[in-house]
Symmetry: C2
Subunit: 99 residues, 2 copies
DNA sequence: CCTTAACATAACCAGATGGTAATGAATGCG
DNA sequence: CGCATTCATTACCATCTGGTTATGTTAAGG
């Protein structure tokens, strides 16, 4: 019954592999058997990352036979990632330009 | 010269005390001597959080006498926090409602 | 049934993170 | 100058995090 807060969600997003996972899930649901090769990680490690994204309420999942399919429950995560990317690019411009 | 990336920015945001700091800075710059009592933290600890936000390119600072003033360099952080908050509220509704 | 496939979980470890207490450095003031 | 103020930094410690390897667990197939 422990509910989620702002920082839990951001913590879940704040890791390169998990951002990669979310990029893979942009087009829709995917099974673990296709996710972990795509992120070049081990199966157990990828499962742990998926579990973290689940606990943060970012993903949902369903079973189909022996496979588990995951998908993004709230597409606002992509807006967050987009804003973070814009901030990175702003930083880049700032470093090369003035200041 | 190490440039910042998406996950570094999100990591910097993903902690309650630092979110509090950003809330305090919504109205504009503030000195450390006013920030650390406001977040009910120690001075050294608050300085470390401020340093982390600086390294992520989220804050900027200036000296004035013995005081250091910090402010938010890129207001997109507030959009990110707002989206995260919306996700929290969505989760809450989902838990009390269906599912 | 027994095996295989797909996935989750546990056990373990190295490194990162956040806290405190102590110290250093810069500025302002009597 | 001597001292206080403001802040950053260091040293140290407990906890969290992410990785691997090993081990369940569940469903399908022969």
């Amino acid at each position: 019954m422990e509910s989620i807060n702002q920082s839990e969600i951001l913590k879940a997003l704040a890791y390169p592999t998990r951002i990669e996972i979310l990029d893979i899930l942009r087009r829709g649901e995917e099974c673990v058997c296709r996710i972990f090769p795509a992120v070049k990680g081990s199966q157990p490690n990828t499962s742990k990352h998926l579990a973290k994204l689940m606990k943060a309420g970012i993903l949902d999942s369903r079973q189909e036979g022996t496979m588990t399919f995951y998908w993004v429950k709230d597409t606002r995560v992509y807006e967050i990632l987009e804003l973070a990317q814009q901030m990175v690019e702003r930083e880049k411009r700032e470093r090369s330009g003035a200041a």
